[in-house]
């Protein structure tokens, strides 16, 4: 076994971009509604847990809820979503709001305004929050899995009414025994 530490390998960001959106599209072709959410949720949770293990292994254990959230906002977000969270608010009673003003996975989302056949009326404009709903299940689940990996049971929801800004609301249920 080689004793030298493995050099950090890099992969093109486009690969991750395409992979995540094709993941959702692929599942969308087969499932709709709650089963779709459940499938994406399961994937995201598992990925989140494994990623956080990887990113947090070098650090000392995080004991405070606020420290955990700060880690998620800075290091974890930077690794997964390529930038850090812009704004973190809390009510100091277990609810946190993470605001990302330019959520990179969804900056390019836009509705196709082409009518299905030439001459037919244009499709009705759909609010962006609705278009983004399916694509936000994965990031929420990743964050949830990450928190679980760090010992916090929480529920994560996302609010995308003003894209490209996305607000993630984290409600911590209980602190699991570490």
């Amino acid at each position: 076994m080689s004793a030298t530490p493995a050099a950090k390998r890099a992969v093109a960001e486009s690969c991750i971009d395409y992979l995540t959106l094709e993941l959702v599209n692929n599942y969308r072709r087969q499932l709709q509604g709650p089963p779709l959410q459940a499938a994406l949720d399961a994937i995201g949770e598992r990925v989140g847990r494994q990623l956080v293990e990887r990113y947090a292994k070098e650090r000392p254990p995080l004991l405070e809820q606020l420290d955990v959230m700060k880690f998620i906002c800075k290091e974890f977000w930077a690794e997964v979503f390529r930038k850090s969270v812009d704004n973190l608010r809390t009510n100091h009673r277990g609810t946190f709001v993470l605001r990302d003003t330019q959520f990179r996975w969804l900056t390019r989302l836009s509705q196709n305004q082409m009518p299905p056949q030439v001459g037919q009326p244009l499709p009705a404009p759909i609010p962006k929050a609705e278009l983004a709903a399916d694509y936000l299940v994965l990031p929420c689940a990743i964050v949830r899995g990450a928190l679980a990996g760090l010992g916090l049971e929480a529920s994560v929801t996302a609010d995308a009414t003003s894209l490209p800004q996305v607000d993630f609301t984290v409600v911590v249920r209980q602190v699991a025994a570490r």
């Binding site: 486009s14 599209n25 969804l106 509705q111």
Partner: protein, 157 residues
């Protein structure tokens, strides 16, 4: 305004995107209808590519029609000019064909088309979760970015 129209064709010949800034001669008196216009365009490129590689005095490689090729490889025509307009063409390795018609006085727009493909199309269309490859599309961010780029090139006032 020196730029007239812009088309994007997919590999099979269907027009995915069409934008016109200025078309003084209506389609009706030209090709007859919009679909005919698209068909003529596509037929044009197919023939021009075949012709230009067949008449090539230098490149010994056999041209595979329809096969993916890096931009700049092989023998593909870049533009042709008439007394009324100049037509610029770019084929991406994925088979997407970008066409731009402008005033005949415009110089080479090969880099511009390359930019439109790499930085506008790939970023704003290919990476859009709601884009279905091969289907006609109309995305507001892409149209806006295209107009903005045309303005910076000085082709659109």
């Amino acid at each position: 305004m020196p730029c007239f129209t812009f088309y994007i064709f997919n590999r099979k010949g269907a027009c995915q995107y069409y934008h016109e800034w200025q078309r003084l001669k209506p389609v009706r008196s030209g090709a007859g209808s919009q679909e005919e216009d698209f068909k003529l365009m596509f037929g044009l490129f197919w023939s021009m590519r075949a012709l230009s590689s067949a008449l090539d005095p230098k490149n010994p490689a056999k041209q595979q029609m329809g096969a993916p090729q890096r931009i700049g490889d092989g023998c593909s025509f870049n533009s042709f000019r008439t007394s009324a307009y100049k037509l610029h063409f770019l084929e991406s390795p994925s088979g997407l064909k970008f066409v731009l018609t402008t005033d005949p006085s415009v110089g080479s727009l090969a880099e511009a088309l390359q930019y439109i493909y790499a930085s506008l199309f790939v970023e704003l269309v290919a990476k859009n979760p709601l884009y279905t490859p091969g289907e006609p599309f109309l995305f507001e961010p892409f149209s806006a970015a295209l107009n903005k780029y045309m303005r910076t090139l000085g082709l659109l006032s």
